[in-house]
């Protein structure tokens, strides 16, 4: 088989081959990096909804409801009544129901109005509860709990006072200046939209909007923070309700009941199914990314082809020696296939290493973009990918191999 000789030959040209190894390593690192980030984005989205069985909101697009209620993308067109929430909470299939009120913000971060029990019921992934890195859930009306990223980026400490703004946007013009909130808790990082949220009670949302019924403060209707405490602050409506069921079998019964509720147009969605719609939408984008990175790998292989073909003229002497000792055409082809397969293998392994290292080094940047990597290590599925690249690399060697044979046949054993 002349394996030993082929490897020794490749090793003797390691200086040139190193560049090809590098090219392939870079392309493989890119491919794996893109795949890994794609997977992690999916995992991160899945993590955000894993503990919730149903999301109830105003009737409209399923995906829209999922996006504004959990991922804080877009706005609710309508709210649902407190009365409907209470009906849902009392339903026999329901284990827990958490009403959330959206619409306010603090320096670009969303404010979520939610009951203190929200922190007990919401799960990150299958069974990790929300944890506090500092402090505890709110007790007072004007207490606020921060997501990990909010606290980190804005540099807030427990006990500081902050002011919420009406609506979204980093420079909102209407602040709820008269009713400042005190920071009582900071949540541990989760890698979900929770990190980029501020939490206050549903009652607090009502409180800061007293006198804002028209959407802006109306002159003469304002009441001070202390005066507002005396009012009934039970919300009239909420943006959405997150529901956990007692048994998974009840999910569909409950969904049907809510969807056919007559008093108000409600919809209940299965967050997993709605998320699936999102992935359907994004599939073309994902494919495009994958195709681009696959093209880079192909470009790497073409580069290798060019180098192998160019190297042949310098290897004529070597080929003549092999032919003189009686090496058969397939020996020559095999040597070049082995070389290209080895170069691809080393390139692919280095690329894998570079991808892991690159993700590790880039993880702070990705975290800033809201993507928490669960692990830097690629799964075993990448093994197939790597094997395919090595196989493609080996196949690439066939052409230079045949070319080498033709060259050696033409040269014969003449001294050149």
């Amino acid at each position: 088989m002349l394996i030993k000789e082929a490897i020794a030959s490749s090793w003797s040209r390691r200086g040139t081959l190193a560049f090809i190894v590098l090219t392939i390593a870079l392309s493989v690192a890119l491919l794996i990096g893109v795949e890994k980030v794609r997977e992690e984005v999916r995992a991160s989205f899945d993590r955000s909804i894993a503990g919730t069985d149903l999301i109830v909101g105003a009737r409209g697009g399923e995906l829209q409801l999922l996006l504004y209620s959990v991922f804080h993308i877009g706005q609710a067109t309508r709210n649902i009544s407190w009365d409907s929430y209470q009906k849902i909470a009392a339903n026999r299939y329901v284990e827990w129901a958490e009403p959330i009120s959206l619409g306010d913000s603090h320096r670009g971060y969303r404010v979520v109005g939610a009951a203190p029990s929200f922190f007990e019921h919401i799960r990150i992934g299958r069974d990790t509860a929300l944890g506090f890195s500092q402090g505890a859930p709110y007790k007072d009306l004007y207490d606020v709990v921060l997501g990990a990223e909010v606290a980190k980026v804005l540099g807030y400490q427990l006990g500081e006072q902050i002011v919420l703004s009406h609506g979204m946007g980093k420079k909102s013009f209407s602040d709820h200046k008269d009713k400042p909130f005190r920071i009582v808790g900071i949540l541990a990082g989760t890698g979900t939209p929770v990190d980029r949220s501020l939490f206050v009670s549903n009652e607090a949302i009502t409180a800061i909007h007293v006198g804002w019924e028209a959407g802006v403060p109306i002159a003469g209707m304002q009441q001070s923070a202390e005066e507002v405490r005396k009012l009934s602050l039970t919300p009239k409506d909420v943006t959405a309700v997150l529901v956990g069921v007692k048994s998974k079998l009840g999910t569909f019964h409950l969904q049907r009941q809510i969807n056919s509720y007559r008093k108000e147009p409600l919809q209940a969605i299965l967050p997993g199914a709605a998320l699936q719609q999102l992935w359907e939408l994004l599939r073309n984008v994902e494919s495009a990314l994958l195709i681009v990175s696959a093209c880079v790998v192909v470009a790497g292989l073409i580069g290798m082809l060019a180098v192998l073909l160019t190297s042949l003229s310098a290897r004529r002497r070597e080929l003549a020696i092999f032919r003189a000792v009686g090496a058969r055409p397939w020996h020559i082809v095999f040597m070049l296939v082995l070389e290209s397969a080895l170069v691809s293998l080393v390139g692919a392994l280095l690329g894998l290493l570079a991808a892991v290292l690159g993700l590790y080094l880039l993880s702070p940047v990705l975290e800033d973009m809201g993507l928490y990597l669960e692990s830097y290590y690629p799964s075993w599925e990448y093994l197939t990918l790597l094997l395919m690249i090595v196989a493609a690399g080996g196949l690439t060697g066939i052409w230079p191999g045949l070319q080498a044979y033709r060259l050696s046949a033409a040269d014969g054993l003449s001294s050149r």
Binding site: E5, F322, R323, G326, S414
Partner: protein, 238 residues
């Protein structure tokens, strides 16, 4: 029995007049033949025909009992591996292999030569060691000297070992002394002949250097046997 016999052999490159046209030529087994011809006389073409790298358009070339011109290309490669040891003018060795690995290369390709080496010496390794020491190269092997640091003469001697390992019947050397001075060339030829004799092989040494001729049993002038060179009026195309 003849080691090589040629009958009405003719070869031409595409669309050109023949460069080889040999009505008849025979070399007996065990003979030491000096094949002389100026460069461009068709020597290289003849060597390529004898080693099965080229196929004649007409005529027959027989090595031992085998009609080389009747074999397909894979069979010719295999035949060359099993039965012919070849020595180039220079640069015989693969620079990335050790001296011993270079010698054993022939046995790596040919199973038959591997088996013969084992039958005679017990292992390919000891066949290699024995050849190298009788060629005076044992010390270089012990030093693990890289091939690239050998002198031209030493390299050519390693090439003898590779041509002879596994006892092929026919040894063909193409101008093996052209890079050596006269004294070294004569020593080289003597060494080569001694080894070929010890192996009971046949030697064909091609050269334009007639000073080597006296050392051989038989001298063949290529111009005498090749009709093509006459018809071309001394203008040789190779």
């Amino acid at each position: 029995m003849a080691a090589i016999s040629i009958e009405a052999l003719s070869f031409a490159w595409a669309q050109q007049s023949p460069v080889i046209d040999i009505p008849s030529c025979s070399i007996a087994a065990g003979e030491m033949v000096f094949l002389q011809g100026p460069s461009g006389s068709g020597k290289s073409t003849l060597l390529n025909l004898m080693t099965g790298m080229l196929v004649p358009q007409r005529g027959e070339i027989r090595i031992g009992d085998t009609r080389l011109n009747r074999l397909n290309s894979v069979a010719r490669d295999r035949f060359r591996a099993d039965h012919i040891g070849f020595i180039f003018q220079s640069l015989n060795l693969l620079p990335y292999l050790s001296i011993e690995a270079n010698v054993q290369l022939a046995c790596r390709v040919s199973k038959q030569r591997r088996q013969r080496a084992i039958a005679r010496f017990g292992s390919v390794q000891s066949a290699c060691t024995s050849l190298l020491s009788s060629l005076g190269l044992a010390e270089l092997v012990d030093e693990k000297r890289p091939v690239s640091q050998l002198s031209v003469g030493q390299q050519q001697r390693v090439a003898i070992a590779r041509a002879l390992i596994g006892a092929p019947e026919l040894i063909i050397a193409d101008e093996p002394t052209s890079a050596l001075d006269t004294a070294s060339a004569q020593r080289f030829v003597a060494l080569l002949q001694a080894e070929v004799k010890a192996a009971d092989a046949t030697l064909i040494l091609v050269s334009h250097d007639e000073r080597l001729a006296p050392q051989f049993d038989r001298v063949i002038q290529l111009a005498d046997i090749n009709q093509a060179s006459k018809t071309m009026g001394g203008v040789y195309v190779d």
